[in-house]
Every structure is written in structure tokens, then in C-alpha cells.
């Protein structure tokens, strides 16, 4: 059995098939879990966090057995893990590598930073147009104010 992961990733057990999400900042691991709804699915999931990374400081990694994501779904994590890399695994082999890209619109996952915005008063699904991808800046479709990376909160 070949293992495609580097030695550090071995801290978390290998999967036969599924998705490995690497290079998640340790500080946003739980946001990624929430955005992808991993707390609500029944697949086998292992994750490691506070792993050393040469490029990212402390990083986290998630392995989800038997799960493959659509681009639109996975790109949502770009808000909190812009450098995340995906390895798609079948038969313990990486068959595809992907990076995430901030989508043009962000619905339902981010909170508008404007305390006077209607989305913070009533049950309104937040909707943003992405006006800048790096660093991320989101324009609220309701109050038209900009929520930037620093003030970004995931609902």
C-alpha cells in the first residue's frame, strides 16, 4: 500500500478514497468544518491541527473518507482558508489536486459587519458580491457596505 502523504501528514491516518484538504490555517479549522457542514455528515473524518508548516505557520488538515466536493461548495472555504489545497484520493492515490478560489458571490456563510444592516436585524440570508479576492472584500447586497478580511465573520 502506497502512501501519498508526506511524513507530517502521516500524523493523520491515510484514506482509501475521498478528499484531503491541506494547508488550512489552524486558526480557521473549525470554520472550515462548519462551512462544509462536516459536523453534520456521517462520513469518516479525521483531522489534525497545529501541525508545523514551512509556509503557513500552524496548519490543519482534514481527511474525509468517501466524500468529493463540487467546486462551488469547496470554494466557499476560500474565505477562511485561501491557500487550502485539495487532494482527491482514490485507491490511496492522489488522482487530482485542486486549489480553492474565492467565488464571485458569497451567500449565507458570512456575516455583514455593519451593525445597522437589515441582515443583523431580521432572518435574512446574507448575500455578498466579492469586490476583491486577495485580500477578501465583500459588498453586502443589502446595505452596500464592505466587509473586509479583518472583520469577516462566518455565521
Amino acid at each position: 500500500m502506497k502512501n501519498v502523504d508526506d511524513p507530517k501528514q502521516l500524523l493523520v491516518s491515510a484514506i482509501e478514497s475521498g478528499t484531503v484538504i491541506d494547508h488550512i490555517p489552524a486558526s480557521t479549522l473549525f470554520k472550515v468544518i462548519k462551512i462544509l457542514g462536516l459536523d453534520r455528515i456521517r462520513n469518516q473524518i479525521t483531522f489534525g491541527t497545529n501541525l508545523e508548516s514551512k509556509t503557513d505557520g500552524k496548519k490543519a488538515i482534514i481527511k474525509i473518507a468517501g466524500k468529493f466536493f463540487e467546486d462551488d461548495d469547496i470554494n466557499r472555504i476560500a474565505l477562511v482558508a485561501p491557500n487550502a489545497k485539495l487532494n482527491i484520493i482514490r485507491d490511496y492515490q492522489v488522482i487530482e489536486k485542486r486549489v480553492v478560489e474565492v467565488p464571485d458571490t458569497i451567500n449565507a456563510i458570512a456575516k455583514c459587519m455593519n451593525p445597522k444592516c437589515i441582515t443583523n436585524f431580521e432572518k435574512v440570508t446574507t448575500r455578498f458580491r466579492v469586490v476583491s479576492k486577495k485580500p477578501v472584500a465583500l459588498k453586502c447586497l443589502y446595505c452596500e457596505k464592505i466587509t473586509d478580511q479583518e472583520r469577516l465573520e462566518i455565521i
Binding site: C112, N114, K116, C117, I118, T119, F121, E122, K123, V124, C140, L141, Y142, C143, E144, K145
Partner: protein, 302 residues
């Protein structure tokens, strides 16, 4: 099909703006018509704004329509904790169009998504007030005969002034040069200057009105409010620098007009009122024609 609403001036193409302005000119010629007979318009004012509400109600009445509504939310079901969602879902059963003013930003966009009838935003907090912008454009077009190649001089609170930001964005659709006259603390925010730069439009900033006043085709006055200053001494220093007096107008362009969204406090001295360049009261009248044009456009009646 989703009804057409007016929430932000950006909802309109330049062609649509031009159409509304020429329709407003038609209503100026014939303000009393029977176009809205049998139609009911709701004016939902969750915060008071007498001037805007009266302007809308006058517009509807002159066209034979009826108005229902409330003038501040303390007398309505809102105080009993009703959500905006429920208010709109209820009211849109009774009327053909909703005019709404609400202190919460984005409330008008949200209402327009829920409503089965067109919604006109008559101000959502510090965000948008598109009918004010359209009546400003109408006043500029009517007095200057064009929207091309004008010099607009904006004076006073350019930092928090929603009307000047919105007018700037709208006028930037045409070739316009701007002079911004404001105290240091109330200068035009960078994002608007960047916007103009990206479009290749000229602007100039100064704290001295006399320096640029004679270049102006339009002087757009706003109020400098004491509560905007972190240091009350700063306010005392600048408060008289942004007041327009009649003697300052002697060398200004003959066709120049002075606009103000009203109400004014003391930023335009009353000795200006008799000057032919004073245009703020006519501007308010133009608001009725412009709103007639907007209502009829959204209802598909013109």
C-alpha cells in the same frame, strides 16, 4: 414576474434615468392627470421625514391615486414587534406600490425581494435615497439644459452626506468635473475620489469656497452638523466657513444654480433666497414631478 422596484440609483441604466427625467418634464407641463385612478399607494414611514412623504403624497394625489400608510412606526404594529417581512407581506395585499422609509440599512432591498408590488426606497438609514438623486439630476438638467461637461461644487459635509455621494456616483455617468469644499474632518471619502480617478474624471479639493465658487455650474450645499465633530472647537472654527451669502455670488456664472436637499439650517443665508441663482425651493417642487415619473415608470403606466 418580480415587480420592478427602485432601491438604489445603480438599479437604473443611464438610458432609464434619461427616460425618467424626460417623463418628469412631461409631468411638469401637465402635473394633474388621471393616470393613477383606482390605484392605491402605501407610504410606510418607519421614521419620520415629512418633506419626502408630502412630496410622494402630492405626486400620487395629482395623478388621481389614493395614499394609505403611517408616518412613524410608534403608532403601528411595528412597535408590537412585527418584523418588516410580515409588514410587507401584509401591506402588499392592499396596495399597488409601496414607498418606504426605514432607519435600517438594506431594509428597502429586503422589502423589494419580499413584496409582490414595486417598492420605492425613500431612504434606508445612511444608505440610499434614489428619488432625491433623480430630482437633483432633474434640477441640474432643467437649469443647465444638459448633464454633460458641468462643474459641480459640493460644499459642507462631504463625509457623511448620503445625498452628495449618491449624486457624485450618478453624475459620474456623464463628463463632470467636481470641486469638493469641506473642512478637514468632513472631506470626501477616498473611495469616491478613487472611483472618479478610475473613470478619468477631474476633481479638486479645497477648504475655501471662494477659491472655486466662480467655476461652478451647480453649487450643492449641505449642512455641517455640530455632532459630526469629535472636537467641538473644530466645529466653532469652521462653522461659518461653509455658509453661503449673497455677496459671494456676484462673480459666479450667470446660469449657476444653488441646490440644497433641504431642510436648511443656516448654511445658506436668507439673503440668498431672492437671488435668481437660488434654486432650492424649485428643486423641492421638481421632486413631485420626478416622483410622478418614477411611480408611473415602475407601474408600467408610461
Amino acid at each position: 414576474m418580480k415587480p420592478r422596484s427602485l432601491v438604489s440609483i445603480d438599479d437604473l441604466t443611464t438610458e432609464e434615468i434619461t427616460k425618467i427625467l424626460s417623463l418628469a418634464a412631461e409631468f411638469e407641463k401637465t402635473p394633474v392627470q388621471d393616470i393613477l385612478r383606482g390605484k392605491v399607494v402605501a407610504t410606510l414611514f418607519f421614521e419620520p421625514s415629512t418633506r419626502t412623504r408630502l412630496s410622494f403624497e402630492s405626486a400620487v394625489n395629482k395623478l388621481g391615486g389614493k395614499v394609505i400608510g403611517f408616518t412613524d412606526s410608534s403608532s403601528s404594529s411595528v412597535t408590537k414587534g412585527e418584523t418588516l417581512n410580515d409588514t410587507i407581506r401584509t401591506v402588499n395585499n392592499y396596495v399597488d406600490l409601496i414607498v418606504m422609509r426605514h432607519p435600517i440599512e438594506g431594509s428597502a432591498r429586503y422589502a423589494s425581494e419580499i413584496s409582490t408590488v414595486p417598492v420605492i426606497n425613500a431612504g434606508d438609514g445612511a444608505n440610499q435615497h434614489p428619488t432625491q438623486t433623480l430630482l437633483d439630476l432633474y434640477s441640474i438638467l432643467k437649469t443647465q439644459g444638459t448633464l454633460e461637461n458641468l462643474n459641480i461644487c459640493m460644499v459642507g459635509d462631504l463625509k457623511y452626506g448620503r445625498t452628495v455621494h449618491s449624486l457624485l456616483m450618478a453624475m459620474s455617468r456623464w463628463t463632470t468635473s467636481f470641486n469638493f469644499v469641506a473642512p478637514e474632518e468632513l472631506k470626501m471619502p477616498d473611495e469616491y475620489k478613487l472611483y472618479l480617478r478610475n473613470l478619468g474624471l477631474d476633481y479638486y479639493e479645497t477648504a475655501d469656497l471662494n477659491e472655486v465658487i466662480n467655476m461652478a455650474d451647480i453649487i450643492y450645499m449641505t449642512r455641517v452638523q455640530r455632532e459630526r465633530f469629535s472636537d467641538p472647537m473644530e466645529y466653532e472654527k469652521v462653522k461659518n466657513a461653509y455658509v453661503l451669502h449673497d455677496h459671494m455670488l456676484s462673480e459666479t456664472k450667470p446660469g449657476m444654480k444653488i441646490l440644497h436637499p433641504l431642510p436648511r439650517v443656516n448654511e445658506i443665508s436668507t439673503d440668498v433666497d431672492a437671488n435668481a441663482k437660488a434654486y432650492y425651493f424649485e428643486q423641492a417642487l421638481n421632486g413631485v414631478y420626478t416622483r410622478q415619473a418614477i411611480i408611473c415608470t415602475l407601474l408600467g403606466l408610461k
